[in-house]
């Protein structure tokens, strides 16, 4: 399930203000550090330490089994050179890029369309369609992957619905199908967040534009889009991060195949570490994901920090 950001247009202290230390205020309450201790101990031990360890691990020859499973040694740039010439890695990076962009565009567009249409629909329609989309979002990834697998087989729901029996969509268009499944599993969250943001748009603004004889495209372009921009940016970043880490859905549906058509980075990292036993190399691929996630994460912090 996605974590939903607190998004609104209220502006608080800016990033630079948060980093400044205040000297004009009373002394720190040092006892408070005891309250923070459990949380930060957990985050240091199981987030920061593994992250640092992974940097080292990526530069060793550690294997899952065999002689180098216990006595591994530092091999410097060897793994990085291997990564540079590993065509599977570069194709995996490319597939990951397509998967993330496709997921994000789908989540934002379908989420917006649903939110704005449901706003004007009759209550029963809102309840049924909104309910279905939310159920899709809440469904655990393993279940979602399995029911998608079933629906894209030759006798599945899509073949029946589209009147093309014996078409196995997952074999024919693997990357497209897993991307659509990923959009399906995340749209509920963007629909709810965008619905809330749409309701916060003052109706006076829309009414004024209507009186001024604007077209509905102009109203969307000039009023709704600028006001929704912070919300949309947060959804883009969060769904991008979720898609990047979306191991379970693809693992259940295709295991990265056929060939390496849907082999996104988390799958390739897992494959190297636990199928080919190259734990160190798998960790290095994991580090590439950490770098990508950090870039997304920093942008996300810049948006979310506006409302601390």
């Amino acid at each position: 399930m996605a974590s939903i950001p607190m998004i609104d247009t209220v502006t608080g202290p800016s990033m630079s203000e948060l980093w400044k230390t205040r000297h004009d205020k009373a002394r720190y309450q040092w006892g408070s550090l005891g309250l923070l201790a459990p949380t930060f101990a957990l985050l240091i031990l199981l987030f920061l330490v593994p992250m640092g360890f992974a940097v080292y691990l990526g530069l060793t020859n550690l294997d899952l089994v065999g002689p180098t499973a216990i006595h591994s040694s530092f091999t410097g740039w060897a793994n990085l050179i291997r990564l540079k010439t590993d065509s599977t890695f570069w194709s995996s990076l490319w597939v990951t890029g397509i998967f993330i962009v496709g997921s994000v565009v789908g989540v934002v567009v379908v989420g917006y369309v649903l939110a704005s249409l449901l706003m004007r629909a009759r209550p029963w329609m809102r309840m049924i369609v909104g309910g279905i989309v939310v159920v899709a979002w809440m469904m655990p990834a393993v279940t979602a992957g399995m029911t998608w697998y079933a629906s894209t087989t030759g006798t599945g729901a899509f073949a029946t619905l589209l009147g093309t029996p014996n078409t196995n969509f997952l074999d024919d268009y693997p990357l497209l199908v897993v991307t659509v499944a990923s959009v399906w599993s995340m749209t509920g969250f963007s629909m709810l967040v965008m619905g809330a943001a749409l309701r916060n748009i003052p109706s006076e603004a829309i009414e004024a534009a209507t009186v001024e004889n604007s077209s509905s495209w102009q109203r969307f372009r000039m009023i709704i889009l600028p006001l929704l921009r912070p919300t949309m940016t947060a959804i883009v970043l969060l769904s991008g991060l979720l898609a990047l880490a979306n191991f379970s859905l693809i693992y259940i549906m295709t295991q990265g195949g056929p060939g390496s058509a849907t082999n996104i980075l988390p799958l390739y990292s897992y494959q190297q570490a636990f199928t080919y036993n190259n734990l160190a190399y798998g960790a290095l691929i994991g580090n590439v994901m950490v770098v990508i996630a950090t870039v997304f994460g920093v942008f996300y912090v810049r948006i979310a920090a506006r409302r601390i």
Binding site: L18, A157, G297
Partner: protein, 299 residues
């Protein structure tokens, strides 16, 4: 889960639908509106069907005693549910409960202290700490699973309890962020009154802050539970004993069998989804009744 709002609550916005600069004659407008409304409902209906289609198999196959991968009208029977609620499959569901409850308890207890301190106290480097919390709430910490695997295997931790602790860390930052926002909204008057009566920090937390911020704390706990419950890759890698595997691994194992029992897989997956759906309904209620803090402070 801060913005969870039932779509049913959305008020119809007529201003957005009418596109008329000058009021046209009455009947013309209603006709236009009718066509628009019909188109809108048609598009929504189509989207609803598209979203529903992939789920159909799950519901139909679980009640079908001769289920396959295809969608077909079921030969109705409850035999699948009877089959899967036995033996090791039932035990896997129990393992999921253990995993989710422990990880939720750790994250919620540790989180509420941190959230309180970050909301109320003057702490060195508070800004950077908060930014770090927000950053790690956005970044999926499950991508740390390979180094964590190596650490756990060195210390012999590849079992259910250490995995529950790691899962609690993956939801902790977001829980802290959510609870902090709720505690921020609790008025400080009651807390100051309790302080006057020489209440300790823990008493203030237990008697004043936690009861008043309960909707937020419950929502955070539900988020943590759902996160741990649905987690697949973390237990797949970190739990090695066969009898400690949670339900998602059992579902995956079903699929790898040479001759899968489709009806059983569907029924088991459906049972596995039920707690998540119930918790979603509960949490959306919590947010609707949400902040009823006004009554706490008189006059």
């Amino acid at each position: 889960m801060s913005e969870i709002t039932d779509t049913r609550m959305i008020a119809p916005d007529d201003a957005a639908t009418s596109n008329a600069p000058v009021m046209p004659p009455e009947n013309l407008q209603t006709q236009g509106t009718k066509i628009r409304s019909a188109t809108l409902h048609l598009i929504l209906g189509a989207l609803g069907v598209l979203f529903l289609a992939p789920m159909l198999w799950l519901f139909l196959a679980s009640f079908d005693k001769n289920a396959s991968w295809g969608v077909e009208w079921p030969h109705f029977s409850l035999i699948n549910f009877k089959h899967v609620l036995t033996g090791s499959l039932l035990h896997s569901l129990w393992n999921s409960v253990v995993l989710a409850v422990i990880s939720t308890a750790i994250a919620s207890v540790a989180g509420v202290f941190a959230a309180y301190a970050l909301s109320r106290r003057r702490i060195p480097f508070k800004g950077p700490l908060l930014l770090f919390i927000i950053f790690s709430s956005g970044v999926p910490l499950a991508i740390m699973v390979i180094p964590v695997y190596e650490i756990f295997s060195r210390y012999g931790f590849l079992s259910i309890l250490p995995t529950a602790v790691f899962l609690s860390v993956t939801s902790l930052p977001f829980e802290v962020y959510l609870m902090k926002n709720f505690i921020d909204a609790v008025p400080t008057d009651l807390e100051e009154a309790a302080r006057m009566e020489r209440a300790s920090t823990f008493q203030v937390l237990r008697r004043v802050v936690i009861p008043l911020a309960l909707p937020g704390i419950a929502a955070a706990a539900i988020f943590g539970f759902v996160n741990a419950w649905g987690s697949f890759v973390v237990p797949l890698i970190l739990i090695s004993p066969q009898n400690q595997q949670p339900a998602p691994i059992a579902i995956y194992t079903f699929l790898t069998l040479p001759k899968p029992e489709f009806g059983n897989i569907a029924a088991y997956s459906l049972i596995f989804c039920v707690p998540v759906f119930i918790l979603y309904v509960v949490s959306s209620r919590l947010f609707r009744e949400g902040f009823v803090l006004g009554g706490g402070v008189k006059g």
